[in-house]
Symmetry: C2
Subunit: 480 residues, 2 copies
C-alpha cells in the first residue's frame, strides 16, 4: 500500500498489491496473536457464498454435516506414523485446563482424521453401517511461521469431509467425486479455471495413499492448490481399528477418504481476478452483485433519485439479484465509484437526474474498466438485462482467466525451457523422475510438481529432466 | 438407558431419560477428551435449522457475520476485572506452539468480548463508524467439571453477537431487540414458551451492566436459561479503549452489547417436548418433517408401494416439506415406527397395499401418541393437508408446553409456599431481597432467581422473603 492510501499496481509488486487489496477491500485483518486472522464482514460474506455453493453440492452427494471437538489427545496423532511426522512441527498444545495441568496434553486440531477415525471405529460394526459420509465446517490450527492473510494463517476456516467405505473402489470413486465437486464449484461459481490432477508421492497429504488436487494459476503465474481430496486407503482404518463384519461375517478394515477447501480459496479469487483498481468478484460469489449510486446536487434531485434508486433496487431484489443502494452522505460519487470498484462489485448503476429523465441508468461493468464497460440501459425491464449482464461478466472472467493460464503455460523439453516456463507460469512436461529429482528441481528453480493432470494427452514422451521414457505429463510451477 | 435398550420413562428418571434420548435419537456423543461433544449428523441438522432461523432474523436487523480467532492473549482477559474473575477458573491454556514454549500463554476463547473490544478499538474512530453490528458463529471452550451433552460441555457451539454504539440508549435498545429476536425464535420456531426478563446482579454476565434472558421450563419443572442478551455499558469500551470522535469533535467511549444462543437450546427442545417414546421435534425445526414408511409383504407390493411412496414424497418436497422415504431392507414396519418416533419426526405416513387401493395414506402425529393421533388422508391434494397438519402440531406443542408451565408456576407468599413451588416448577414472587438473600435461598432450596420478567403485573406487594415492600415480581426455580 503506498503512502497516499492508493493501491500499488499489480504489475509493480504483486505481493504488495495483494496485501493492500485484502486491507482496502475490507476483507480481513490480522488478529492480536501473531499470524491469526480476523475475517471481516465483507470477507465473511464471500466465505458464506462459497459455503452455500459447496454445501448444496456436498448434500446432493449424500454427505451430512456434523460437529467434532477441536481438542484431540496428542496420542491420537501419533497413531498414524506419517501423519504425526507431517503435523508435529505445526501443533498448538493445550497443557492447562480449569486451572490445572492436564495429565495428557491436548492438540488443537490441525485436521480431524484421527478423532474421526476414533469415532468411526465406535460407529461401524457391520457393512450396513457403511458408507459414512460426513463433513465438518470448522477452523483448524497450524503453527505457520510465515503468514499471509487467507493464504497461510495460524488458524484458518475450511470444510473437511471424512468418509468411510466398505471397498477400495468406493473410496476411490468418492475421492474422485469430491474433486469433481471442487472443480465444478471453482469453474462455475468462482470462475477460477483449475487443473484437476494427482499429487506426486512427495506432495501427498501426511497419511494418504493418494492425494488429488485442483491447481489454479494466480495473476503472477504462480500456482495455488485450491482444494484437495485424499484417498487414505486403510491407513487410518488400521491405525484406529475401523473394522466391519462383511456379508460373509468376516472382519474387514474400512477404506477412508478426506477432502477439504478453505478460506485460502478467497485468496485464489483475489489473485485470479483482481486488477489495479482492486478486487474483482465473480457475480456468483459476490455478496453484492449490483450497487446503485444515486447522483445529485440539489435536495429536490436527492429525494427523487434516492426514491428511484430504491425502486430500481427492489425490482432487482425481486429477481433475486443482491443489490445495495449507496446513499451515504458527504461522499462524492467519484469516491463511491472507487470504493465499490475496490470491493469488486460486478455491476455499478449510476443514476443521475438526466438518466432519470430519460428513464435510463448507466451500467458500469467491473470486469471492463473505463468507458468500454459502460452502457445506458432502460429502466423498463431492467432486471433481465442485469441478469444477462451478470452472466456475461461471470463468463468473461472465466474466459479471461483461462486465456491467461493458457498464455502462461509452456511445454518444456529441456531444463532451460523449464526454467523459462516457471519464471512466468506453468511448465507442462513429460515426467519420469522420483522424489529426489523433485527436490533437486525445487532447490534449483523453486518450482514444485503441482499435479499429474487427470486429463492426459495419451501416448509417451521423454522426461525433460531424467531423459527416461515417460507416460505422464506433469505440471510444475512455483506455488503459494 | 435400561439394559434392553429401551428408553427409561421420563417420569421415572428425567436425567436418565434425557441422556438416553440424546444417544438413542442419534443426536450426540462424548468425544475422546473428557466433557467434549460430538454432534452427530441428526443433531447437527437441528442446529443448522436453528442457525438458519436465527441468522435470517439477525440479518434483518442489520447484523453481519464475521470470523474472529479462537486464540486470545491471556492478558486481554485480565483487562476487564469482573470478566477475568468470572472466566479464570474455566480457561483452557495453550502454552506451546510450533514446537516451542510461547512467550505469552494463549487462551482458547471462552467468549469473545475481549478480542472484539481490541478490534473495535482499531476500527472505530468517528461516530460515522458506529454502530458496528457483528455476529460470530463459532465454538467456545469452558472447562466445565460436570458435563451433560448439549447442556454443559467443555466446548460448545453458539453464536455470539457483539455490537458497539454511540449512545447508551442505542445499546439498551439493541440489547432488548436481540432478546426479542430470541423470544420470537423460541416461541414461533422451537415452540418453546419463554419468559423474557432481566437477571439480578448476582446472575449477570461477568462484565455486563445488565443481563437479559429468556427462561424456559423443562419437562421436570426446572428452568433453563435459553439465551442471553447483555448490555455491557462502557465497561469493555473503557477496558479496550473503544473511543470515537462525536459530532462536536469530542472523544467519547462507545457503548457495547453482546448476546448469545448455543447448542444448549437443543437440550431445551428435547426437555420441553420429549416423551416416553423419545424426541418430539417442532415441525419448524425438524430436519425431517415427514417420514413415509411403505408396508408390504410380497415383492409385487414392494415395488408398487415404494414407487407410490416416492411419488407422494416428491409431491411433498415440491410443497417445501422435508420428507424421507424409509425403504430400508430387513427392518419391520414396527421397528421403523419406533425408530422415527425416537427421532421425533412430526408426521409418519404409513402406506400399505390397502391404503394404496383406497388412494389413501395413514398419517400418524408424533405429538399425539397411539390411535388418537392417526387419521386416513386422501392421496389427492395431500400436500396442503400435511402442511395444515404440521402447523397444527407446531401450535399444539407450544400450547402444551405453555399449559405445562402455567400449571407448574405458583405464586408464593411464604417460604413454605416457595419451597413447595420450586420442588415442581417456578415460584412467582414479589422480591425485594439482595445478593445475600439470593445466596441464602439457593443454599436452602437450590432455587435461583431466574429473572425479573419484562412483563410485570404492576403495583406493589410484599417480598415473600424479606417482608419488605417490593415493586417487582421475580421468577425463582431450580435450574440447569
Amino acid at each position: 500500500m503506498s503512502k497516499e492510501n492508493k493501491l500499488t499496481p499489480r504489475s509493480q509488486d504483486f505481493n504488495d498489491w495483494y496485501n493492500a487489496v485484502v486491507q482496502m477491500a475490507d476483507l480481513a485483518d490480522y488478529g492480536p496473536v501473531r499470524g491469526t486472522m480476523i475475517v471481516k464482514p465483507y470477507g465473511w460474506a464471500i466465505w458464506e457464498n462459497i459455503q452455500k455453493a459447496l454445501d448444496t453440492r456436498f448434500k446432493a452427494t449424500g454427505v451430512e454435516n456434523a460437529g467434532f471437538p477441536m481438542f484431540i489427545p496428542l496420542s491420537f496423532l501419533q497413531k498414524e506414523a506419517k501423519h504425526i511426522e507431517g503435523f508435529a512441527p505445526e501443533l498448538a498444545i493445550v497443557t492447562h485446563g480449569g486451572g490445572e495441568e492436564l495429565a495428557e496434553p491436548l492438540v488443537v486440531r490441525p485436521t480431524s482424521e484421527t478423532i474421526i477415525g476414533h469415532a468411526y471405529s465406535n460407529w461401524v460394526q457391520s457393512y450396513r453401517d457403511l458408507p459414512i459420509l460426513i463433513n465438518l465446517w470448522n477452523s483448524v490450527v497450524r503453527w505457520e511461521m510465515r503468514t499471509k492473510l487467507f493464504l497461510r494463517t495460524l488458524e484458518f476456516y475450511w470444510q473437511e469431509g471424512h468418509t468411510a467405505h466398505a471397498t477400495s473402489e468406493e473410496a476411490d470413486a468418492r475421492t474422485r467425486m469430491m474433486l469433481d465437486v471442487y472443480t465444478d464449484f471453482a469453474v462455475n461459481e468462482a470462475a477460477v479455471p483449475v487443473i484437476p490432477g494427482e499429487k506426486s508421492e512427495m506432495e501427498r497429504f501426511a497419511g494418504a495413499v493418494q492425494t488429488t488436487t485442483i491447481e489454479a494459476m494466480m495473476g503472477d503465474g504462480k500456482a495455488l492448490q485450491a482444494a484437495t481430496s485424499h484417498n487414505l486407503g486403510q491407513n487410518f482404518a488400521k491405525a484406529f481399528e475401523i473394522q466391519y463384519l462383511d456379508e460373509n461375517n468376516q472382519q474387514q478394515f474400512a477404506w477412508t477418504t478426506s477432502w477439504g477447501l478453505s478460506t485460502r480459496f478467497i485468496g485464489a479469487i483475489i489473485m485470479t481476478h483482481g486488477d489495479d483498481n482492486g478486487l474483482v468478484l465473480p457475480p456468483n460469489i459476490a455478496p453484492i452483485q449490483v450497487v446503485v449510486v444515486p447522483i445529485y446536487k440539489t435536495d429536490d434531485d436527492k429525494a427523487a433519485l434516492i426514491a428511484a434508486a430504491n425502486k430500481l433496487a427492489q425490482e432487482l431484489k425481486d429477481a433475486e439479484i443482491t443489490v445495495k443502494v449507496d446513499a451515504r452522505e458527504n461522499l462524492s460519487p467519484g469516491f463511491k465509484f472507487n470504493d465499490w470498484e475496490m470491493r469488486g462489485v460486478p455491476v455499478r448503476l449510476e443514476l443521475g437526474p438526466r438518466d432519470l429523465e430519460n428513464n435510463a441508468v448507466v451500467a458500469a461493468r467491473r470486469d471492463i474498466p473505463g468507458r468500454d464497460g459502460k452502457q445506458s440501459l432502460s429502466l423498463d425491464g431492467l432486471a433481465p438485462n442485469i441478469q444477462a449482464l451478470l452472466s456475461e461478466i461471470q463468463a468473461n472472467l472465466l474466459a479471461k482467466a483461462t486465456q491467461f493460464r493458457e498464455d502462461n503455460t509452456h511445454a518444456a523439453a529441456s531444463m532451460e525451457e523449464f526454467e523459462q516456463a516457471v519464471k512466468t507460469g506453468f511448465a507442462r512436461v513429460w515426467w519420469a523422475g522420483d522424489t529426489e529429482d523433485e527436490i533437486a528441481i525445487k532447490e534449483k528453480t523453486k518450482a514444485t510438481l503441482r499435479c499429474f493432470p487427470h486429463q492426459q494427452p495419451g501416448g509417451n514422451g521423454i522426461c525433460f529432466y531424467t531423459g527416461k521414457p515417460a507416460d505422464r505429463i506433469a505440471i510444475f510451477a512455483r506455488a503459494y
